[in-house]
Structures are given as structure tokens and as C-alpha cells.
Symmetry: C2
Subunit: 200 residues, 2 copies
């Protein structure tokens, strides 16, 4: 049984191609070529394009979630948690630059898939962080802002520069190299920005 190798090779190739071209833009033949196997194998292991795609999207989502939860669930000070998250997540995205836009785009175009994810056990869960915010608000250490809004801000500041990089490079009239420097700078900058925006 060498099926385990082949199946993984298909999945890896599919991840690469789907992330780059999206569900609609990807071609089965292209995925087969990327995996150096016969196209029929794709159907042998994953039945059809839709199911292969869903396996890829699910695996992409699975990759996101743990990365978040490790930090969200750790037992550290709120501010320190924010710092850990921004720095850690930026590093993670530097290694997986296609991931966030891929997930966001395909999630929006596959509403049925959203339901499947909702039922899945391994979701990103910011609840521990939200509870910490609530405590800090009660203690008067941070401003009375809806905690979910703070999380939304945290996500936006961290993730959007990767999702919208092409647009930003145009609007800010900036080269790839300089943009990369800005991203590096953000690893510490946005945590401090966010903290000072919520500190009481």
C-alpha cells in the first residue's frame, strides 16, 4: 500500500494549485502534473473536483486554527498575549502568504462549506482572550469596548496587510522590498498600537 504517499502528494499539489488559482481557476490536469501522477488518480482518491477542493480547504482551515488557539488559550497577561499573537501570526503568514486570502475568498464563495466548518471541532476560538478582556474591563484596566470589536481589530491589523498586499503596494506606492520591511516592523508595532488604543 503506497496509497498514503500518493494521497498526500495529491493533497500537497492540490493545496499549491488551489491556493494559487482558487477553486474555479484550478485545473485537475494541472494538479496532476504538479503531483507528477496520472489525472485519474485524483478521482481514484478524491472522487471529484469538489471533494478534492473541500479536502484542501479543510486542511487549510485546520492549519489556521491551531496556530491561533495555542496563543489564545495560553495562560499569560492580556497585553503579552496580544504581543505574542501579532508577532507569531505575522511569522506564520510570512510562511503561508496565500493562505488567508484563499480561505476568505473560498469561504465566501462556498456558503455550504461554512456550515461544515461550524460543526467541526477544531475551530479558531478566541473565547479565552475575550474572557480576559472582560475581566480587564471590569477591573478598569482597559476601556469599555466590546471585546469582540477588539478581537476584530486585532485580526484586521494583523491579517489584512497580507490579504490586501497588492492593493496596498499600489495605494501606498511602495516596492515589494519596502513593503516587507513594513510587515516586519508591524510585528511589534501593531501590538503597541492596539494596546495603547484600549488602555484605560
Amino acid at each position: 500500500m503506497k496509497d498514503i504517499n500518493t494521497e498526500q502528494a495529491i493533497l500537497n499539489a492540490a493545496i499549491t494549485i488551489f491556493q494559487k488559482k482558487g477553486m474555479a481557476g484550478a485545473r485537475m490536469q494541472e494538479i496532476a502534473d504538479e503531483a507528477h501522477i496520472n489525472k485519474a488518480m485524483l478521482h481514484y482518491y478524491f472522487r471529484n473536483k469538489q471533494q478534492l477542493f473541500e479536502a484542501v480547504l479543510m486542511s487549510a482551515f485546520q492549519k489556521l486554527a491551531p496556530q491561533m488557539n495555542i496563543i489564545f488559550a495560553s495562560e499569560i497577561d492580556v497585553f503579552e498575549k496580544i504581543r505574542k499573537f501579532t508577532a507569531g501570526y505575522i511569522d506564520f503568514m510570512l510562511e503561508n502568504p496565500y493562505l488567508p486570502l484563499f480561505i476568505i475568498h473560498e469561504l465566501k464563495h462556498n456558503p455550504d462549506f461554512v456550515k461544515k466548518i461550524m460543526l467541526h471541532p477544531n475551530k479558531p476560538d478566541p473565547k479565552p482572550l475575550i474572557i480576559q478582556f472582560e475581566k480587564e474591563i471590569k477591573a478598569g484596566r482597559i476601556k469599555d469596548i466590546p471585546p469582540k470589536q477588539i478581537v476584530l481589530n486585532l485580526f484586521s491589523l494583523t491579517i489584512f496587510p497580507f490579504v490586501g498586499d497588492t492593493l496596498f503596494k499600489i495605494v501606498l506606492d511602495i516596492e515589494d522590498k519596502d513593503y516587507h520591511k513594513m510587515i516586519q516592523e508591524r510585528k511589534t508595532l501593531i501590538a503597541e498600537q492596539l494596546i495603547s488604543s484600549i488602555s484605560a
Copy 2:
């Protein structure tokens, strides 16, 4: 000559379909149906799919830019400008919810088109705002943070909640209706957050 009407009808239909399905996912027949015309007309007016798509993407981009520039170029106080931008832009996106993700996604998948836009006169231009930031920093009224980073934050906080709405609804475990409320709340919230994060 009723060609002007037909051409516009095609463009409108194409905008609708391309925004919903993307370049790769859209079908010429679907666009023709949406416009209630014969498919051959698409080719009569726009030659082929690529050119029709580029016309759509350009028009979408043209829609974004003025909306930004009006606010960026106006002669008002920096903080007031931030408030105007967030509120105004959120309203704009509530009316065009597909626009930002469409532009970002297609820009990333059509690198050649990026060059075309760079040459185009009507680009979003945050330079007036950046100059204001620089002045305020020199005057010691706001912290010494790279102005482009502030603009990046402003964009992220404003636009990302629309781009990533599907993901957020999953992560924050929130219904459409409540998410809409959060967005409304953000119209004033994020301006104040951003301002307090940069105030000296």
C-alpha cells in the same frame, strides 16, 4: 444607435457576475443572461472575456478611488479626517459589499493588470493625509509612527471586516444581524481607537 445602452447593460451585468464569481468562475453566457441579451453581443462590444473583465475591474477600481480621494484631499483636521474616512468608507462598502474582496482577489491573480493601474491617472492617493501625519508628528501632537503604517492601520480596520466577514462570523460565532450591528458600531469606534493609538 442604441449601442450605448447595450454596452452599459453588458458592463453592469458583467460587474454583477464577475464580482460574485470572479474572473475564473464567471461564464460569458451567465453575463449575457444577466444583461438579457445575446451572448454574441459581449464579443461585439468587448472582443473577449479578458477585455470585458479588465473593463469591469477597471471600473470597480475607479469606483474605489474617488471615494477615498475626496476625503483624503479635503482641508480638514487630521483627526476629523480619520473620522470622516471610517464612517464614509464603511457606508460606501455597505452599499458595495463585494467590491473590496473582488478587487483584492483579482489584483493578486492578475499581476499584469497591476501595472496598467499604476499608470492610470485616477489612483487612490493618501499622500495629503500622509503629509498631515508628518506635520502632526513634527508638532508633537501625534506619536512618531511611520505615517504609512498609520494609513495601513486605517485601511485594515475599515476594510477588513468586509473582506473577511465570513471568516469572522465563524471565528466570533456571530449571526449576520449581530455582525451588521458591529459594523455600524465601528463607524465611530475605530476612528476613536485609531486616534487614541496615535495621540501623543
